[in-house]
Structure formats: structure tokens, C-alpha cells
């Protein structure tokens, strides 16, 4: 089992979709929302995902394919 922390950013057209709920149904992962801020134009969620490492990666790839942007929680690591 592994635990991964990521930040989801939702584009405006996806704000109403229950992506995290569906992710937990489609894949063998436990999702835990730790922080979030959503308004009518955009929204982000800091999420903990627990599960088999491969299953976590598959669930994140699925979320990305739905249009969610997935980033490391602490911001980009690569700097100038």
C-alpha cells in the first residue's frame, strides 16, 4: 500500500462533476480530501490517495484523461 498527496485543479466546465467520487468507484483507492477551495470559475482540491502504487497511478491517469490537472502538492520541483 502507498499513500500519495496530489493537488487536483478543475477547469470551469468540470466543477460540477463528482470526479473524486467516481475515481473511488472505478479504482481500488481510498481518497481523502484534505484541503479545497472551489468557486464558480475554478477549483482545487488537495487529496490523499491510498492504495496499490500501480492502481494510484492508473487512477491519476484516469482523472487527467477527464480533464483534471494533477500536480505535486508543494508546487513544481523544477526551478530556473
Amino acid at each position: 500500500m502507498a499513500l500519495k498527496r496530489v493537488r487536483f485543479t478543475f477547469p470551469e466546465e468540470m466543477i460540477k462533476e463528482p470526479v473524486i467520487h467516481r475515481m473511488g468507484h472505478e479504482f481500488q483507492v481510498v481518497t481523502n480530501i484534505r484541503m479545497a477551495d472551489v468557486d464558480e470559475h475554478t477549483g482545487w482540491v488537495v487529496l490523499e490517495i491510498e492504495g496499490d502504487p500501480g492502481e494510484i497511478e492508473r487512477s491519476l491517469a484516469w482523472a487527467q484523461s477527464r480533464g483534471v490537472r494533477v500536480d505535486p502538492v508543494g508546487g513544481d520541483i523544477v526551478e530556473g
Binding site: D37, H41, V46, P72, G75, D76, V78, E79, G80
Partner: protein, 415 residues
């Protein structure tokens, strides 16, 4: 010794020991170094600072590591210049340039890496690491060499040869990662979590970012112990932008300057402008972007301190420039032609943003304004090469030379 007493969460204010950790376990807020300011005040004066070395280590009492064991390659205490020519061109007669191109590896990153490497060595680390598109890689490689530490530096596979050489000369383990920006970022986030290395901008980030405060200390001292009215700072992760102001606030806290009323303005390239766009929209939520700009040293699409940058823009009544690649090149040449300073593309972003903000009335001509030039131009010379006038080519004769001068003169006189 250091007057640092703990790490503290910026969000929930929980305290942690001074270890190699950077995120609050409860709320995921960033950790920041907390100091015993009463003790610093008792032990620090303008005179004691002035008697210190001509480097950032003159501010030793306000740094989170022991200056007696510093990894010191001479970072900091760079010139502050009254930019009369550039100021005249922009209608800003009280404009100053903080010229950080003259640091040991030619960028302000030497400030943050000096602190990160010193603290990493104190914490017992033997390896320094980073992921970078240039400046940070150069500085980590150089400081590790001077500290007798190993360096592991990750770079994108398509990095320009000049930037690769600027790191490899110091002998690090240089790793070119194939893949796009997101892939490199993802791999490095995983590596940082898996290896027991001092990843300068990850697990030792609270110490690393304190190095940027020294820019705030220096400009106040160089202005005769006063804060400027306005600062214009390039924004990448946002850490530099936030910490310059923290430096000014700390000097006030220990009684060395009056409380600053400095307006803090930012500068971003249109091809990577999450903070500028959020500021323009009046939102405190930035949307991460995929960078596409010649200003690669500012190309952070998901800035760690993006939110805090927006807070600072709002609280200090600052503004954020947003300039395209063409304006960036013009900014680089304008700086060079007016002040004799060859800055990199980030400098072009800063100067072009100064111009934009001055034209829009966001900077008043009355304000004592400091613009931060954070890296040297030879690192990104390819960005301006095509925009520059080619040299005159002549035969080895007086006649040929004079003909060429005449032709040049004719070309320069508008029809």
C-alpha cells in the same frame, strides 16, 4: 550560532523542530523558519552589520544556520545602482537596479543555495540535489564543490549546451531526464520523497528560501537604512517575491529601519503567468499553467508560493506585469543599452514589466523604486542573438572602414 528557534506552519502556526521538513503534517501548509527576534535585536546593530563581510553573511544573525561554518563562495552584497538612464527612458527618475547578475554563478540563486547548503551540511547530509533548467543547477553544483559535498542535478534533456556546461564544470552527477516539463517535475517530486538527499528546494526549502531575504536586507542598507517605496520582482515560484518583503519587515522588527510601506509588484512572462492572470482577474486562486516562454528561469507553472504572492500583491497594493516574448527581448536590450547590464530573460521580464506598469500609472515617478535583476545574460544569449545588430565587417583598409561607417550612418537615418 543561529537565532532560529523552530519551523512554523504558515497556515496553522504549528511548530516543528529545525529539521529537514518543509510541509505541515496537519494542513500541508509550508513551513517557515521562526526566530528569537528579541535576542537578534539585542545582538544586532547597523554598525555590527556594516562591520561584517561584503557578502550575505553580514546578516548572519538573521539567517537560519551557523555563519561560522558557512559554505561561502561569496554570494550577496551586490551593487544597487541608481539607474538614471533607464529611469529617464521609463519616466521613473528614482529607479534603482539591484544587480544580482554579479553573484559567483551569475544569479541570485547563490543566495538561497548558500543557506541551503550550509544548513544541509549542519544536518549531516552528504549530497545536495535539485531539479533545474539552469541557474539553480549551476549554483548547487558550485556550492557542493566548495563544501566537499556530492551534487546530483536533474535537468530537462533539451537544455541548451551553455547551461549544461555551467553546471558540469563543477563536477556534479548531471542527469538529463527525457520527457516533457510535467514528466520531469513528477519524477523529481518522487525522487525527492524517496532518497535521503538534501533536495535544496524541497526538504530543506524552509532554509533555502530564507536566502532571498538578504536582498531585502541589502537594498535597505544600501539606501541608507530605509525601505524603498516600491519593488518590482520577477515571479517564478513566488518565494523571492515574498521573502524580499520579509527581509524588510524583519529589519523593522529589530529596529534597524522604520516599518516598511513598500508596495510589492511582480513581473511574469505571458507564456507562464499564473500569478499575473489571477491578479488581473482579481482572484486569489491561480490556475497552474504549462509553461511556454523564452524566460525559462521563470517557467514555474504551479508556483509553490503563488497564493502568498497574490496575498502580498493585494496587501501592499502592488501590481503584476505580464509581458510577451518580444517585450522580454526588448527589455533585455533596453537594460543593456541604458545601464550597461546584460541580464538574462528574467531581467527582460522585469524591465518590460517596469515599462508596462509605469505606462499604466501603476508606478508613480515619485516612488523610489527598486527593480531586481536576478541573472546574467550570457546564460540566455540565444534569446537576444537575432535581435542584435550584426558587427560591421571590413577589409583591412581605411577606405573599407569609412565606407562601412557611411553605410551604417545612412541606414540609421530615417527616410
Amino acid at each position: 550560532m543561529s537565532f532560529a528557534k523552530s519551523l512554523r506552519c504558515r497556515e496553522c502556526h504549528r511548530e516543528y523542530p529545525l529539521a529537514a521538513i518543509h510541509v505541515c503534517e496537519f494542513c500541508f501548509g509550508p513551513l517557515e523558519v521562526a526566530y528569537d527576534y528579541d535576542a537578534i535585536r539585542r545582538n544586532t546593530s547597523r554598525e555590527s552589520i556594516a562591520a561584517g563581510p561584503a557578502s550575505l553573511w553580514r546578516y548572519r544573525n538573521l539567517l537560519p544556520c551557523d555563519a561560522n561554518a558557512a559554505v561561502d563562495i561569496g554570494a550577496g552584497f551586490t551593487p544597487l545602482i541608481h539607474a538614471k538612464n533607464l529611469g529617464k527612458a521609463l519616466g521613473l527618475p528614482r529607479l534603482y537596479i539591484k544587480n544580482d547578475t554579479v553573484n559567483p554563478t551569475w544569479s541570485f540563486k547563490d543566495r538561497v543555495v548558500a543557506i541551503a547548503s550550509t544548513r544541509a551540511r549542519e544536518l549531516g547530509y552528504e549530497k545536495l540535489a535539485c531539479a533545474s533548467t539552469g541557474n539553480l543547477a549551476n549554483s548547487v553544483s558550485a556550492h557542493a564543490a566548495a563544501a566537499g559535498m556530492d551534487a546530483v542535478v536533474f535537468i530537462p534533456h533539451d537544455l541548451e549546451a551553455g547551461k549544461v556546461l555551467g553546471s558540469s564544470i563543477y563536477g556534479p552527477t548531471l542527469v538529463k531526464v527525457r520527457g516533457n516539463y510535467d514528466a520531469v517535475n513528477r519524477l523529481c517530486a518522487e525522487l525527492a520523497g524517496s532518497y535521503n538527499w538534501a533536495f535544496v528546494n524541497v526538504n530543506v526549502r524552509p532554509y533555502y528560501s530564507e536566502g532571498s531575504k538578504t536582498l531585502g536586507f541589502e537594498i535597505a542598507e544600501q539606501l541608507g537604512w530605509r525601505a524603498p517605496d516600491h519593488c518590482v520582482v520577477p515571479i517564478a515560484s513566488g518565494s523571492l517575491f515574498v521573502k524580499i518583503r520579509k527581509g524588510l519587515d524583519e529589519l523593522a522588527k529589530i529596529g534597524l529601519i522604520d516599518p516598511p510601506r513598500t508596495r510589492m509588484s511582480g513581473a511574469q512572462a505571458t507564456g507562464c503567468s499564473p500569478v499575473a492572470v489571477a491578479w488581473e482577474e482579481g482572484s486569489m486562486n491561480f490556475r497552474p499553467q504549462r509553461p511556454n516562454t523564452i524566460a525559462r528561469s521563470l517557467a514555474i507553472g504551479n508556483p509553490a508560493d503563488g497564493y502568498y504572492s497574490l496575498v502580498q500583491l493585494r496587501d501592499t497594493e502592488g501590481a503584476c506585469g505580464n509581458v510577451n516574448d518580444e517585450e522580454i527581448v526588448k527589455g533585455m536590450t533596453l537594460l543593456a543599452e541604458t545601464e550597461g547590464i546584460f541580464g538574462e530573460t528574467a531581467a527582460g521580464v522585469t524591465v518590460a514589466s517596469l515599462k508596462q506598469l509605469a505606462e499604466r500609472g501603476r508606478i508613480s515617478p515619485d516612488e523610489l523604486t527598486v527593480a531586481f535583476i536576478t541573472g546574467a545574460g550570457f546564460k540566455t544569449s540565444e534569446a537576444v542573438a537575432e535581435a542584435l545588430r550584426p558587427p560591421l565587417e571590413v577589409e583591412a583598409s581605411m577606405e573599407s572602414f569609412e565606407q562601412a561607417c557611411e553605410a551604417l550612418q545612412k541606414a540609421e537615418v530615417p527616410a
